[in-house]
Amino acid sequence: MKIAVCIKQVPARDSQPRLNEAHTWIREDGAAFEMNEPDAYALEEALRLKERHGGEVVVCSAGPGRVSQVLREALARGADRAIHVESDELVAADAFNVAGTLADAMRSESFDLVLTGLQSDDQGFAQTGVVLAERLGMPHATIIMEVQVEAAALRVKRELEGGWFQWMSMPLPAVLTIQSGINQLRYATLKGIMAAKKKEIRKVAAPAVLTSRQRVVNLYVPQKTKQAQVLGGTPAEAAKELVKRLRDEARVIE
């Protein structure tokens, strides 16, 4: 089975993004980046499917030059090769442009299965996988917690709201968006890191002109309406005050 995994590189989760001058995006200089978390689970699922059914895992990303770093990381974890649609224009592109350029780069590969994370930690569009399915003419299913492959068909477990789930079948080829927690992640071994150096990252040019369907006019730190009573002082003082308030004011502990 030939499996594609779409991976996005996003600002590191524990960093506080800083605004650019135009307040339309963040400042990239000095920012740290990492693999989008749901995408890491999608990659892991692809590697497990390959272990069970054979085939190839190809990681694909659309973004600026720095993105090759997460592709290398994916190759180190076990992906076979990579496709990088490289363009600085794609730094903050909308889901239509990201999915559109990825679809163009992926079409001739005739993948049997395409996996993406269910959404990204930066823009959180939750659209890329679904738009990609439409562009590739494939059926899709979202928020997937289990994947079973049966001949030319898939049976997948979707997460629904409030603790409900649903099984769904569809023919291959297909696109799935993967929910974090579907499996337990593996980390790259030294051997994997060495092997990754020899694996191919095929560069593909993005279209010269991208037409956006949405535009950020203002990016800002959300206004705090702050209603919490913040208890200050040393940890011991704050702890003492909290226990007192929970006993005497909120009356929620004895």
Binding site: L19, Y41, V131, P139, H140, T142, F165, R213, Q214, V217
Partner: protein, 324 residues
Amino acid sequence: MILVVVEQREGKLNRASWEAIAGGQQLAAKAGGESVKIAVLGGDVGPVAAEVAGAAVTEVLTVSNAALEPYTADGYVQALVQVLGLHSASFVVFAHTYQARDFVPKLAARLERALVADVVGLTEAEGRPAFTRLVFQGKMAADVLPEGDRPYLITLQSGAIAADTVRRGATPAPVTPVNVVVDGSAIRQRPEAPFREAKQAVDLSQAVRIVAVGRGIKAQDKLPLAEELAKLLGAELGASRPICDSGWLPLERQVGSSGQTVAPKLYLALGISGAIQHAVGMKGSKTIVAINKDADAPIFEIADYGIVGDLFEVVPALIKELKS
């Protein structure tokens, strides 16, 4: 015209749909007094249509077809493309449910129209309606303008617009059937009946107190610290999703949109950022305490008491205080 597409499953309206209707009405006022219509798709949608006809809208469109029950992305996209061909809208509004996440991006791609998803507020920019979304895990907000041809598709995050702000009509809105042709053979997804996992051993929804841990706890071997605090408070242990994803605690301890909804007297959040999917599961708690080293974490927006600090210093201090 602004079209609000409401959601039903087996003839029952999804409550978030009232928020979408209220959002459609507010957007109509912002967009210069446009009319609002509601569409409902499915098998027998009569009762749901009658229910939403109580809102102050000009018309309720029923799109009834056996091929639309149960829901599939392929079926819904086919049907809505036809509805939007017959009723040209400037905006199409949905609640940002799991179902909307599943098919609205496909609809937008099929129509080649903008989709601004997961909107938390309506605003204005360059003289036209703009939409506020949270980005970077809630650390930033972005005001976004949809571009290109209309209609623009919008999904509203739950709780962004209160359902009780829906304006009701003096008389029920007229209900009009819309005929669509749905090619069942072009529906590739074969859904099975929804189910819940086997009965859970811990019912957090009944807990009086909960100590919940988030990614700030850093490692599984740090969990005993939270357990000791929970024991002293007579509390159950809860967790945010990443803790359960990592397998550090069983799924039944997860609080949030895909976990349990809880409403204890006390909810103490340790190293939890307060992402919307977590917050929807616990914001009904009577007293919320947040301990987080980031003073800007969204959890402080919903907490009653907060301590800004390192949980590895604050929790031992709390344990000591409770013991004395």
